[in-house]
C-alpha cells in the first residue's frame, strides 16, 4: 500500500485528474491493474464511506471521490476485461413502477460503482417486465429496487412475484430501500436485504454476492 498511495489519496480527495494520471503512470510501470483496484481504489472508497458514516463527509464529497475512481477505473476496466477479471458483481437498479423519486437510487448507484460493482441503472417508473428483461440480458447478480411512496411500495412485491413467475428469481439476490421501506417489509415480500441509507448499499451488496 505504499507505492501508489498517490492513487489512494487522489480518490479519497476526489482529485479525478491526479487519479487518472497516477493510474497511467502505474500501468506504464507494469503494475497489475487488479492491484490498483483492490489495494488502492477500493480501500480509498471504503475510507470515503467510513468518513461519511462518521459525519465527516457529505454526499458531494463522496460523489467527487466516486467520480475520481470511475475516471481511473475507465483506464483499467478494458485491461481487466481483456484478462478475464470480472467486477465484484452486476447490479440492476431502478425506482419501481409508479414512482419517480430517484435521488436515493442515484446515490446507491454511485456508491456501488465506487465499491467496484457494475451498475445497470434502469431509471425510474420501472416495470417488473423491464427488471426481468435486464436480469436476463445483463446476467445480473443483484436487483436493487427503490420506492419513496407508500402507494408504490406494493410495486416491489409485484416485481418480486413477477420475477418468480418468470423463473428468474433464483438467479438474483434482491435488495430494497427507500423512505417508507422497513426490514419487516423486505422480509414480508421476500427480498433478500434492506438498506436504510445509500451508504450501507456497498456492504449489503458485498454480503449478497458472497452468500
Amino acid at each position: 500500500m505504499s507505492e501508489w498511495t498517490k492513487l489512494y489519496d487522489a480518490v479519497l480527495n476526489g482529485d479525478a485528474d491526479t487519479a487518472r494520471s497516477v493510474t497511467d503512470e502505474a500501468l506504464a510501470a507494469g503494475t497489475d491493474p487488479q492491484t490498483l483496484v483492490n489495494d488502492y481504489m477500493i480501500p480509498a472508497m471504503d475510507e470515503v464511506g467510513r468518513r461519511f458514516e462518521a459525519n465527516d463527509f457529505f454526499v458531494p464529497e463522496l460523489l467527487i471521490a466516486a467520480r475520481a475512481m470511475k475516471g481511473a477505473l475507465g483506464k483499467i476496466r478494458p485491461l481487466l476485461t481483456a484478462s478475464g477479471v470480472k467486477p465484484k458483481g452486476r447490479v440492476v437498479l431502478g425506482t419501481v413502477k409508479g414512482d419517480l423519486h430517484d435521488i436515493g437510487k442515484n446515490l446507491v448507484a454511485a456508491m456501488l460503482e465506487g465499491g467496484g460493482f457494475e451498475v445497470i441503472d434502469l431509471g425510474v417508473d420501472v416495470s417488473a417486465e423491464k427488471f426481468i428483461e435486464a436480469i436476463r440480458d445483463e446476467s445480473a447478480d443483484i436487483v436493487a429496487m427503490s420506492a419513496l411512496l407508500t402507494t408504490t411500495m406494493p410495486s416491489m412485491k409485484n416485481t418480486i412475484e413477477a420475477l418468480n413467475e418468470a423463473g428468474v428469481r433464483g438467479n438474483v439476490k434482491i435488495m430494497i430501500g427507500g423512505a417508507p421501506i422497513t426490514r419487516e417489509y423486505a422480509e414480508e415480500i421476500g427480498a433478500d436485504s434492506y438498506g436504510d441509507s445509500a451508504a450501507t448499499a456497498v456492504g449489503i451488496a458485498r454480503k449478497l454476492v458472497a452468500s
Binding site: F58, V59, P60, G98, L100, V124, T150, T151, P154, P180
Partner: protein, 458 residues
Amino acid sequence: MNTKPAVESLDAFLFGRAPHPVTCGRGVEIGGGRMIPEINFTLPGIEVTRRNWDEIRRQYEEMVRGVLRHAVELEVPAVVVEFETLPPMTQTPEWGLEITRILAENCAAFSDRHGLATALRVTPNDTREFRRPPLMRRGEHWEQMVRFFDGAGRAGADLLAIESTGGKEVCDDALVNADLRRVVFALGVLGARDMGFLWEQIVRSCRNTDVVPSGDTACGFANTAMTLAWKGMIPKVFAALVRVISVPRSLVAFETGARGPSKDCAYEGPFLKAIAGVPISMEGRSSACAHSSPLGNIAQAVCDCWSNESVANVRLLSGYAPVVSMEQLAYDCRLANAALDDSPEAARSLRDWLASSDASLDPQAYVLRPDIVLEISEEILTGATTYERTIRAARAGWRILDRAHRKAALNLTPREARWLGRMESAVTELPETEAEMREAMAGEIPANAYLPEEYGLT
C-alpha cells in the same frame, strides 16, 4: 413585478393576517385575521388501480367525514381541506376529479348542516417528469394535467394548486453535488420560465369559475435539499441557500395571477407573503407525521393556514391519523387566534417565540426569521428580472448566514462552517445575467438532461 415588499414593517408581519386576503369556498377567508387549519390526508399502502377503486373512494369518504366531524366537535370556525392527488389520479383525470367531487360534496354538507366554513384545495401532480427528459409544454402528461385543471371547478374545487417541477431534472443532481451554480440555473432560469408557462394555463383554467388559482411550492427543490440535509447528506447551509434561491421562482406564480395561499410545503412562503402580500399556508411540527424538519415552530410564525402536510389513513390509539392531525391543527390555530384576539403585541410575542425557539439551531430556520425574511426580501426586489432576483437572493442569503455565524447567532458545526466558507466564491462568481448563465451551463450540463425548447430556450 413588485419593487417594494407588500408587508411594510416587521410589526405588520403577523400570522393570520395578509395584505391581500383570499375569500373562497363556503365562507372561508384566508389571511383576514384568523389562522385556519388546512388538513391533508392520503391513502395507506394501497395501489391506485381500477380494481381497488371502490375501496379508495370509501377511504377518502371516511377521511373527509372524520376530519370535518372532528372540526365541528372542536368548534373550528373554518377549515381548508386539501386533496393532493396521487399520480395515477392525475394521469387519469377522471379518477382525481371523482375524488374531488366526493370531498367537495362532504365539505358542502358539513357547511350546510353545521355552519362550518369549508374550502377544498385540489392539487394535481406535476406528472410531466414521468418522461425523462420531460416535455414541459406538450405531450400526454401535459394534456392530462390541463384536463384536470379545466375540470377542477366543475368537480367542486375551491382552490387550485400544484407542486411544479420545471428544472428539477437539472436540480436533483445539482443538490447532491452541492453545486450552487446549477441550482441557480435550475431555479432561476428553467424553473422560473416553466412557472410562467404553467401558471398562465392554471389561471386560464380558473377563469370564469369560482376556483381561486392559489399557489405553488419549491418542494421538489428546496424541500428535497432540506430532507437531504436532515439526513446528513448535504450541508444545512447549502440547503438554506437553496430555500432562499427558490423565492424568485415561486414568486412567478403570483406575478402570473395566483392569489394564494401558497402551498403548505412551500417553506419559502414567508418571503412570498412579505413580497406579494398573499396569504400563505405552512407546515411544521404539525407535519412530523409526514416528514421531519428543523422548522417545527418557526414555520408557523407568519402563516395564515396551518397544515399537517399529509398523513396516511392508519389507525392510532385515539382514532384515525387524519382525525388526530385535525385535532393538533385545531389547537395550534386556537392558540394563535387567542393571541390575535388579545392584542397585536401578544400576537407579535407569540410570533417571536415561535421564531426564536428554532432560529439559532439551524441555518434553514434562521433564514425564515421574520426580520431576516424582510431583509432578504428587500434585497431580492432590487433585481429587475427573476434571474437577477435569484442571484441577489443567493448573495443576500450567504451574507446573512455568514454574519449570523460570526456573531454566534447561529450554531454551526465545524463542517457546516467549512462549507459556508466554501460557498462564498460560488455565490460571488454567479454569472450576472441569464444569458451568461445559459452560456456557462451549455458546456456543463449533459445535452440529454433537459430539453431547452421546453423552456422557451432555443
